[in-house]
């Protein structure tokens, strides 16, 4: 029964991930943003495990374990700690208002779907259809990174891009080679740690985490 429903369940997980990306764009509170990101990671883990079970590829289990450890447990815990210490709970400003952001988001979704359409036709994989969704998640998170003015949502946008990329990898190719996955995970971990440190320093220097205050180096 599960095997029969597997493609639909993976597509369901993909749609959930996409919906969470949209929810993240329109979310104003930073702690809910982190929670949404955690749920997104959990959906990704579920999709990996399911695909691993159905296609009998143990590599996907390892990938799922990595994602679980990193994106569902460690990074959200660290981010919660950081925002507690930095005392940032709300992020009221965005560069462009939320309805416009969502309209642009729809445009990006249409663009990614049309771009990925011919490629997913070529994939023999179980979940090939969700390449478009993965690319849409990447582009939506990219937009979130650009339109937010505080540091923590930008980091979450970056991590969410990576979620989309891992999903793309598992949907068209049953995951990247293990060594690459480990390398990517390591890079991500180090990046988040460095950024955590940075946020404290930015806060120390300019007393705020509003990235728009860091505008000294503009073009003159």
């Amino acid at each position: 029964m599960i095997i029969k429903l597997a493609p639909q369940l993976v597509n369901l997980a993909a749609t959930l991930i996409l919906m969470l990306s949209f929810a993240m764009i329109s979310q104003r509170r930073i702690s809910s943003l982190i929670n949404l990101f955690t749920i997104q990671g959990a959906a990704l883990v579920a999709a990996s495990i399911l695909l691993g079970y159905v296609t009998h590829q143990p590599d996907l289990y390892i990938s799922a374990a990595l994602t679980l450890a990193l994106k569902v447990i460690f990074i959200p815990w660290m981010l919660h700690r950081v925002i507690r210490k930095l005392n940032v709970r709300w992020d009221v400003e965005t560069l462009i208002n939320i309805p416009t952001t969502m309209l642009v988001g729809i445009g990006l979704v249409i663009f990614s779907f049309s771009l990925a359409w011919p490629i997913s036709r070529l994939s023999h994989n179980l979940a090939g259809g969700s390449l478009g969704i993965a690319l849409a998640v990447v582009l939506l998170s990219f937009m979130m990174m650009i339109t937010r003015s505080k540091a923590v949502p930008q980091i979450i946008g970056f991590l969410s891009i990576e979620n989309g990329l891992v999903f793309a990898a598992i949907s068209v190719t049953n995951g990247m080679p293990m060594i690459v996955e480990f390398g990517v995970a390591l890079d991500l971990l180090v990046a988040v740690l460095i950024l955590g440190v940075f946020m404290f320093q930015i806060r120390e220097k300019i007393d705020s985490l509003d990235i728009h205050k860091l505008e000294a180096l503009k073009e003159d």
């Binding site: 639909q8 597509n11 949209f22 309805p99």
Partner: protein, 316 residues
């Protein structure tokens, strides 16, 4: 049209009339319990209707005939909507009229009349309520249409009866877009039925009202009809939701016996739905009015995404 068919149709209408206040009572009861207050009786709405019907209806001096006719029109629209939505069976005489777009039109008709009536007497709060109601409706209608189109993509028809039949009788498939459109539909029904987070139905502060401010001037039997119409609207939306997303258990026949057998399933589904509605209302806070366009805009865009996902994943 056979006599049996006519009888079944009447039965369906009567059941809808009777169920609507019960549903409202159920939701109110659970909302009170979840908020740790003592709950009113389940039959409270019936008692309120009874009271209102026996009271005198007071009208303003310069109220136009529209003001007097509006409650009946609104009630009629809602009753018709409940009659044609496949609540208990898909094969009733009026079922072929259950086109999704026609339904949206019915709701829009009701909205137009009640807004006009609110503006008719010329009070400040009435006009404000009418304006806000129009804003909500203007944004909610496209979202609702999108949700219905998404569901109709699966069954290749906008007729609700066809949708129900196709979904209930296919083998169990998970349509990922239903996740997204389900969320969108929930958001739209919260807005249309004047529930928290869009509008608090229990508020007595006129400045925060949307729906309630439009019926401020009514009393007596007119108010009774409008309250009943609101309950019917809630029932109608719940049944649309059930028909689109959980269509199992709806009878296919034209006989009264089949209708009676489908009733427990419907009651069970409505009970769960009512509880969830009360839960959502308790967990959310009412939004400021200028946030409502954002809320409904997101619902619309979610529905569009559902549509796109349908296209991408190649749903039949």
């Amino acid at each position: 049209m056979s006599w049996l068919g006519l009888l079944s149709q009447l039965m369906a209408i009567v059941m809808a009339l009777l169920l609507a206040p019960l549903m409202t009572g159920w939701v109110n009861q659970w909302r009170a319990r979840l908020q740790n207050k003592s709950a009113p009786s389940l039959l409270q709405p019936y008692l309120v209707l009874h009271k209102l019907f026996n009271k005198e209806s007071v009208l303003a001096e310069h109220a136009s005939p529209l003001f007097r006719a509006a409650p009946y029109i609104v009630f009629g629209c809602m009753l018709l909507a409940c009659a044609i939505i496949p609540t208990l069976s898909t094969d009733l005489p009026l079922s072929p009229a259950a086109d999704a777009i026609a339904l949206v039109g019915l709701f829009a008709l009701a909205r137009v009349f009640i807004s006009l009536a609110a503006m008719d007497v010329g009070t400040a709060f009435g006009t404000m309520g009418a304006r806000r109601e129009m804003l909500v409706g203007f944004l909610a209608e496209p979202a609702l249409l999108m949700v219905l189109f998404c569901a109709s993509m699966v069954s290749r028809s906008t007729s609700l009866t066809t949708i129900v039949e196709t979904l209930a009788h296919r083998e169990f498939t998970i349509y990922p877009s239903f996740l997204v459109t389900g969320v969108a539909f929930t958001m739209v029904s919260l807005a249309e039925n004047a529930r928290v987070p869009v509008d608090n139905p229990e508020t007595h502060l006129e400045l925060t009202m949307i729906h309630e401010s439009m019926i401020l001037e009514y009393s007596g039997r007119h108010l009774a009809l409008l309250e009943w119409a609101a309950s019917l609207k809630l029932l109608a939306y719940s049944c649309i939701g059930l028909a689109l997303f959980f269509p199992w258990g709806i009878a296919e026949a034209n006989a009264p016996l089949a209708l009676l057998l489908a009733l427990p399933v419907l009651l069970a589904k409505l009970a769960v739905g009512g509880f969830l509605l009360a839960l959502i209302e308790t967990l959310s806070a009412k939004m400021r009015v200028f946030r409502v366009p954002e809320f409904l805009g997101s619902a619309f865009l979610l529905a569009v995404i559902g549509l796109l996902v349908n296209i991408l994943l190649g749903v039949s």
